[in-house]
Subunit: 259 residues, 2 copies
DNA sequence: ATTCTTGTTCCATATTACGGAACCTTGTTC
DNA sequence: GAACAAGGTTCCGTAATATGGAACAAGAAT
């Protein structure tokens, strides 16, 4: 099937080839590799140069990508940072607790799972990477909400509502907002079977270098396994969140929880 | 001045606009922002989607960039990582030792200088960023070679030879390969006036998160200044290499030098 | 049910990208 | 120094494509 903009396809095939070339690429080499006339290759390369996405080495004549491509993906780089910074902590927590550990970000007023490590004792859960969950009745969601402005919180709740998932679900906006003050105070949020019957969860925030909450980290499991050690798990997830925050360049001196 | 491929310019203006939009962008919003007809915007967005560089949120209809853009810039990300991870160590070493400190990568079987910090006592040297040097008679070159397979080493030596630079240059391939085993054993490589008369050098490897050698780090200076403290400099450069490796996610438990 | 808004499709045509050929530059060989 | 080779660059007639106005489709709001 033809692409709707053929020259765009050609241009990206070219950019990909240049991006993979170790020391840049030549006009002739690219023409051969892509089965295109040299004049076509030259014109596309010149266009990339003019737009600032490529440069030509004066001596060798080779073309290579410039750092301008990075400006397109700054949001991805931020997410990559968070995942990379968090991964070893997720693995350590899962290993230590035996329960499933999640990494979650706020997106369009919902909680989106971006990473997950299962512990030995994990039972099947609904969570999977890419999955979206409500914020009002999940520990990660409440964590992500807690550090937003009250205006933001109200907007999100207006948009997504506070649907009852279990008898424990908080369905009153004002009650939830008051509860979120406790979440900030404790430095962790709990889900006492608010989202799913029989499942409990504890989550902590991950701050980035600007002091904003970049993600939330959680430990989840069946209530009968979680309840006896909930305080200890809260300590662990809070510490892990702080360690990841430090790796992201967060200065811990503000927002230190009252202990 | 007209760009040689007008639709490429339009396409990148579009991609930049989408990249900057916090929660993706709409067809109508982009058409307004870029003063383009909706059908033009829609066609370009569809082309990006087909190429895999954008996706459309099913519910909201908003377009956003995908992670595929990252595959274009993997080389930048890798080089950025190494340089950024190393820079503070280079500065610290130069400050502490007074000698010039280099960061070097292997490229097409040659040593390429990608960063350099001069100490107080530096005399003029041939090294400059972008400069290529032989691998058989430089400390950084021997470091970069030492962790390659013997097949790779032989291929590189066959391609580049073992030209004599000074009376101390190792010019026999078998002797060099045996010497490289010592380099691995010691965790550092020395250049005892093998590349340039009157100049000595000590270098250590920098490992990345996969365990591969991403770069080498070196301290160089006039032999009469280097010789009296060579063992101490070796310790320092080995430690700096290890610190940078850790920053790149290298697990130190393997390849730990015998001490 | 109607209206509004936004996304999507169609297609005649204006515009642009194409690519072959020629030219230019630099390096190599004799 | 001349000739040759290789690769980069430019030109321009034209084929191919991208354009964009109009219409349509779908969903939301009233």
């Amino acid at each position: 099937m033809e692409t709707p903009v053929k020259s765009l396809e050609r241009a990206f095939r070219l950019a990909e080839a240049v991006g993979q070339a170790k020391d840049g690429a030549t006009v002739t080499g690219l023409a051969e590799a892509l089965a295109l006339p040299k004049s076509t290759v030259h014109r596309l390369l010149s266009a990339f140069v003019q737009l600032g996405y490529m440069e030509q080495d004066e001596q060798s004549g080779r073309y290579r990508l410039t750092a301008k491509w990075l400006s397109l993906v700054t949001r991805f780089l931020a997410d990559l940072d968070v995942r990379q910074a968090a991964r070893r902590s997720l693995e350590a927590l899962a290993e230590e607790t035996g329960e499933v550990v999640h990494l979650v970000v706020l997106n369009d007023g919902e909680a989106v799972y971006i990473d997950k490590v299962e512990g030995k004792e994990t039972i099947r859960m609904h969570s999977r990477i890419g999955h979206r969950a409500p914020v009002h009745c999940t520990a990660v969601g409440k964590t992500l909400l807690a550090y937003r402005s009250e205006d933001d919180i109200r907007t999100i709740l207006r948009k997504h509502g506070l649907a009852r998932h279990t008898p424990n679900t908080i369905t009153d906006a004002q009650a939830l907002i008051a509860h979120l003050a406790e979440v900030r105070q404790n430095g962790v949020a709990f889900d006492h079977e608010e989202n799913e019957p029989g499942i409990s969860c504890v989550a902590a925030p991950i701050f980035d270098h600007t002091g904003a909450v970049a993600a939330a980290l959680s430990i989840s499991g069946p209530t009968e396994r979680m309840r006896p050690r909930l305080a200890a798990l809260a300590d662990r997830v809070r510490e892990a969140g702080a360690a990841i925050s430090a790796r992201l360049g967060h200065d811990r001196s503000d927002r230190e929880t009252v202990r």
